[in-house]
């Protein structure tokens, strides 16, 4: 029972259906169930809301259009017109993370993005993807990304390693930022929820605090999804345009 009261317990992976393909564990876990829920809810939200195809949008259609407009303008402003072909991927990434974060805020549910392996998978795809796009587009000239423009050649031996390290740390910062944000918020809520029970009547104070933190978490859920999308756009812009712009 003591184990159950750990604030980290909510992040536990439970195998709902044990499955193995050869030696590979492909069990359907609570995380996988939430992933399926994300896909279903996001798809329903973005299709049913647009069912009317109204010239003057209602509330739901407005929200769907806002999502589209937000990501579209982010891609347009940060990447430019040649970012259009990557728009569906960035949109999917944004929606997947947004709904993962948001659905994770429902009590007793599970936050997919609180797991570093999931966010790292996203970050790795973005990192490898942008690197491949960069080399494919600019061949070896892509390496000039590591030489900041307008800097004396004498400083290059110092700056190039720094640039390379900062480039390689992109997937780490990208994944840790999201997972740590999700994990910290949920852990804090759980810890204060424990206080509510412990303090009895005086537990009203931590309860009020939880309400405030929860509101903050709702903002963070959206903000982190947006930050992830924006950074992906910036990395993509680097790969497409090097230092120009």
């Amino acid at each position: 029972m003591a184990e159950k009261h750990s604030p980290l317990d909510q992040f536990g992976i439970n195998r709902l259906v044990e499955m193995h393909i050869g030696a590979v564990d492909v069990s359907f876990t609570n995380s996988a169930a939430m992933m399926v829920a994300v896909v279903v809810v996001a798809t329903l939200f973005l299709t049913i809301s647009m069912r009317g195809r109204a010239m003057v949008p209602g509330r739901w259609q407005s929200m769907a259009e806002l999502c589209y407009g937000l990501v579209a303008s982010t891609v347009r402003d940060n990447v430019g017109p040649d970012g259009r072909r990557y728009f569906p991927f960035i949109f999917t990434l944004f929606i997947f993370i947004l709904f993962s974060n948001a659905l994770g805020l429902i009590p007793y549910s599970f936050t997919i993005t609180s797991h570093i392996i999931v966010t790292f998978a996203f970050a790795a795809v973005v990192f490898i993807g942008t690197t491949v796009i960069g080399f494919w587009r600019h061949k070896l000239k892509f390496l000039s990304l590591f030489v900041p423009p307008g800097v004396p050649i004498a400083l290059a031996p110092l700056l190039v390693p720094i640039e390379i390290i900062s480039y390689l740390s992109r997937p780490v910062s990208l994944s840790v930022r999201l997972a740590a944000n999700m994990m910290a918020g949920h852990t804090m809520i759980k810890v204060f929820a424990g206080f509510v029970v412990l303090l009895g009547l005086a537990g009203v104070a931590p309860l009020v605090f939880i309400v405030a933190i929860y509101a903050l978490e709702v903002i963070i859920a959206f903000l982190q999804a947006y930050v992830f999308a924006v950074l992906t756009c910036l990395y993509l812009a680097d790969a497409l345009h090097l230092h120009h712009e």
Binding site: L8, A32, L46, H115
Partner: protein, 165 residues
Amino acid sequence: MPQMEFGDYLPQLVWLVITFAALYLLMSRVALPRIAEVLEGRAERIADDIERADQYRSEAEQTLKEYEILLGKAREEGHTVSVEARIKQQEQAKSQSEASENRLKEKMVEAEVRIQATRSEAMAGLKDIATEITRVSVQRLIGITPDERTIKVAVEEAAGKLKDV
């Protein structure tokens, strides 16, 4: 810490790939085209409306221009007409006043002639009366009936002297 359970990584990654691929397909094939279609339709509609409004405005401007031209023309015409009317009126007034002046002059001449005639008539009558009075008064005074010619001469003389005075 459940995040560090390496044994749980693989099932998460497998399902992440599956669900993300599914979402990508659903978004890129179904949801995004639909939203894009609606947004484009709206943008087109707005552009159309703006274009139509522009057209109406230019038409209105054209009409206004035509109206102003017509108004200017009408004003000019009105001015010309009024100027012509004034000139005509002035001419008419001039000829009328000339005519009446002439008539007055004629009448004046006529009147002068008549006055002259009346006066000479009256003068003639006066001489006759003067002659008669002279004859009668001389007869009464001195009892002699004077010669008709002598009286006339005397009257003429007196009249001539009177005229001189």
